[in-house]
Symmetry: D2
Subunit: 384 residues, 4 copies
């Protein structure tokens, strides 16, 4: 029997925003959500026009009003809200919807401070609502398979983690042009929080490494840097990592890396084998045993129920970013149904990033800010 | 103002069929279609169950009945039908829906004989309805950009075309197992028509070459072969091509190529430069000038309105097969709206494959069958 | 105990010739040869200057004189001669040196006609001298390993062979410039023989496929073409192949393929697995099982005595074209010593191409010329 | 007129040593050296046997004796010595030969302490003899071209340097087996000096980055680590770098990176473009403009006199590690001839690494040791 589509609302994501449209496509792809309400912009006119363009029935000028009104509807209010605003609004908006008893799907970083994030985590637990964080890259089937490989011991004990995320779109001071909405808020500390490149893509790199290795660093030594003159926020971060088991790692994220598009790459070396993943070629995963030959594992051909759960089309028919994103919505739907029915969360949905991953990301941000401020002194991390 | 979603019906694509689900995701991705009716299986019970699973409101046991009933509905009948049946039904189903005044989106090959295909083309023209053929690979932005590069003269005069499509899923006689529905009908001449590998993937290779080069061969010398003992249809085709301008080419398609997933690849060499495209890595296109360095053009970064029209997410965020497929539905929606409004077809939608491409594909099939039967004698092609 | 360096002579390869210098470096690399005599040019002055530049002690103005004089020397005449002239001289020069009892290392193609080649083969057998043909690419360790994989049955029964050799250096009529010595003689039928691209690189492709698969076609259908206006010889060849075991194949060679440098590539598909080799990346070989993941085998890490015999430096330290070429000289040295001592040829040297491979290449040339002249009619091949 | 071959001696490199054979092939390839004398092992019997095997005329049991004796020969003593011993002997041996007035080609690292290295540099300058350090990777034509690209401003101002060198051959405690000579001395601080992985491959990474960017860090923060239990020396190093112009960098070297063969890779990002080089694929260099498409520059096709000077065979005919190594010998020969003739060093030879590069490498080693000992505190570097 088909399950009814869940009703989704959206806050943020009006015209000109990249990520709103992505969420809408992703929510739609697997047919588990129907977008019915939105407060797409703080500008009422733009909110209205954006909603109309997106075919959204109920448009609100204000997200507080939306939370109230949707919660008050009789049986057809939204089941969940997607929060796709600039960072500084994540926590207040999420709080409002959680308070209203509505499930939350939220962009990362979770919040603009650890305190704020921890409060949110506490609230989500109290309310027993879904709080999904859209760490898109963990939706790729081969990223999930990579995690399985580590967990199953195929790599042996992990020794080295190398993760990086390079882009070039902020290599020049485009935020001063006034025409690039994205660049505008992402380089403005009052909207993005204290972390620029660090919060925007550094947290993705950090999450990917943690997701696949199942490990978080015990301490780190980091340096933030701003290359573009006049920029008010970091556009480059480099860090060295120490893990509890003695493993070592390096993390690099840059938004001024000329020629780089969206180059999120992870390599993990264990005592028995290594693996390598490149987000720009997500249909392959490289596995190389110590002293052996590299194997190119492909999406669709790896024998893995976990990967299969995140796969839509046969081997050789490439999937991409939207499919990974859709996977988060698919898992979110599974969890919402279980929560609403009082059932345990389905096992196959448990790889979805949660508010706790968001808190971990904020701890990472805090540690990098602290270490960088102390000229790279090793900073102990209090994980979970 | 948002445009209303078009109402879509589907014939074929019940449980166990791969391509039905693909069409549904593709139609949904860009939010221009709503699937409301279907005759998903010739088995009434399976049809009913499949429709329920797919969330389809109106399920029919018979496609003839569906065509009649939908045409008779008052204002909310389907605008278009997606035909995803085994090949032998393409023409009869399409005919029924065209006769009922309903637009058609149809899988390839168009029909199981050239005669049948030509009649269909004639009918589609008379009825002035959309007849879109799902040559998926022409929906990739970089395939469209490749076509532009050729058309603009960047390659100079075309000299050599090398196209191939290799898979390995039929390397063993899996059709005898009774459990692989796909393999079953695709190797049964009474359901697939006289061409096996030739019709299934050879036509994709042929279309891709024609789409990008803008040229069709004037003659060909071909050989069909069946490697798997007991198989009743070809699983391998090789051909040499001569083009009107003196260019030469080779085409190879195989479903027994061990290790190959879905390896559709095209290389085109002109007097000034060459290009290369590999369907399994659709976010890149290689362009190499005579005597020069290869350039890796990427989806999202090529400066091209045509490619941009077929692109959803920024550079470095990979798109895949479903997005290419969705592009066909997006273009189809543009054309349906124009046709229904009596407007000319929008320029940006014109790369959508039509019933005429289907007829060209059938001419190619006929030519290969004829040349192969005559021990590879060069066969002149009467291209439209 | 070290073995003495063999004394090598050279005919052809004067200033401006590419291949002469390559032979000299290749002969030197493994320290088994010392170049002591030469007739490097038909122009006496150039011969003298070239010899001086190459540090050759005994320079001859005429190769007939050289054969006589070297044979007459008391104990320090050359052991072997390297023939690196334009094609039309291969047979006469080789004949003279064989008659003089001197071992021969000769460039391919063996001769400019099958008759000439067969006579040479007969003579070499009678004289019981080495006749090595420099099919360079069979000197790569991974090419030899590929052959082993096929021979050991790792691929199962071979079904499909795809081989190609693309270059672009003759895409324009550079032979008319008068300044490109290479282009001059290679496009002049009186110097190169009746086969242009076919003889120059088509024979390499043919030999590589035969070397790795251990199979020669039973018949072929081919077409030669000349793209460059005014050129007197083919610059493009395409062919379809049928093998005795029912396998099918395609061969393509072109010297007008814009952007291609020296792109010799082979793919072989068997019932169990496939392999792929690209001469431009000779330190890797791809092996993919039916339905499985591609494995990137690397030079140095494959477990193979045969590959190890052709390897000089550890894994990850790339070897290239000169090393492959040197391997031929290394194997030649092993055979010369054995022949001179009346010992059987060492097993590890037996992959060296012989005069019989040369004859096979000439049979291939003949077959392509005949089929092409008969508009692609299948031509039966009488393989040795 | 041909120049006479220079007479070369060798210290170290007896049977079982990898690098001795490499030096011999490299010195031979371009025919500028003749190996005539050696003290190949400290074990007299082994020295004798090794020399015989290598075809060396004059074998010495002791390198001090060799320096004396060769210097004393009348006109046919060695011109230069190649030092291929374990690290701790580099300085004493080099000193002896410099004192004897003999040119030196020496493996890296230069010495086992900065003091020792600086003394050597002083001596080399005083004696006005060649002191070439075999930083092999700077012999690659595309590495030299990369340097040119930076120097010419094609990358703009350098912002980010990412360099790494990963191997896996020491992932297990193979030094305890007693059978791996290499592993034995390289992990023994009394033979290798205080730096293990750091001295062995970290210095190569450091040199490559400095060579291409023309910049040396002003300070670094580093951490050494030993993963393999019982090992007496580091097998892993990670560092963050700051450059005088504000650029940032990271350096990683590991000999326990499972699956890595000899993966030396450099990426440099400037304000206008980036480049990437991978030692395992040395025939290509990637150049990507800000916001643009990656260009795959190939050895042989780049327009560069500097690259051409380091190239032997045409485009598409791959060169490798031995050719890069040979280039050092070729440049050394050019410099020796100039020095001996009292001419200025030829411009095309000036990219050869010198004793000063060796000192810079020792400064890098010192800085890493110091920073690592101080828990990663930033260490100022006193360059030159």
């Amino acid at each position: 029997m088909p399950q009814r589509r869940l009703r989704l609302g959206m806050v943020g994501g009006g015209q000109g925003a990249f990520i709103g449209a992505v969420h809408r496509m992703a929510a739609r792809l697997d047919d588990r959500f129907e977008l019915v309400a939105g407060a797409l912009s703080s500008d009422p006119k733009r909110a209205q026009a954006s909603a109309a363009e997106a075919g959204i029935a109920r448009s609100y000028a204000d997200w507080r009003e939306m939370a109230r009104a949707e919660a008050a509807r009789d049986g057809d209010g939204i089941d969940a809200v997607a929060i796709v605003t600039p960072n500084y609004l994540h926590a207040p908006v999420a709080t409002a919807f959680l308070e209203a008893g509505i499930h939350v799907v939220c962009d990362k970083p979770l919040a603009i401070s650890l305190t704020e994030g921890e409060a949110l985590a506490k609230l989500a637990r109290e309310k027993n609502k879904l709080f999904a964080l859209t760490h898109t890259y963990s939706g790729y089937p081969l990223v999930r398979h990579a995690r399985e490989l580590v967990e199953s011991g195929s790599l042996g004990e992990i020794r080295v983690v190398q993760v990086e995320y390079a882009q070039d779109w902020l290599a020049e001071p485009i935020e001063t042009s006034g025409t690039n909405k994205q660049a505008g808020w992402r380089t403005d500390p009052s909207l993005a929080g204290p972390a620029g490149c660090l919060g925007d893509i550094g947290t993705h790199a950090y999450h990917l490494a943690a997701f696949i290795t199942g490990m978080m660093p015990s301490s780190l030594s980091a340096e933030l840097h701003t290359f573009v003159p006049g920029r008010r926020i970091d556009d480059h971060v480099q860090a060295m990592l120490r893990y509890p088991n003695g493993a070592r790692g390096m993390l690099w994220a840059s938004q001024v890396a000329s020629g780089a598009e969206n180059a999120l790459r992870l390599r993990v070396y264990g005592t028995k084998a290594s693996l390598a993943f490149d987000q720009e070629n997500p249909n392959e995963l490289w596995f190389t045993p110590l002293g052996g030959s590299a194997e190119r594992l492909t999406r669709g051909r790896v024998k893995s129920a976990i990967a299969a759960h995140a796969t839509r089309v046969p081997p050789g028919h490439p999937e991409g970013y939207l499919e990974a994103f859709a996977q988060l919505y698919k898992d979110a739907a599974l969890q919402i149904e279980a929560l609403d029915a009082g059932r345990p969360l389905p096992a196959e949905s448990l790889l979805l990033a949660t508010v706790d991953d968001g808190v971990a990301g904020l701890r990472f941000i805090d540690a990098v800010l602290a270490s960088s401020a102390a000229d790279g002194q090793w900073h102990e991390m209090a994980n979970g």
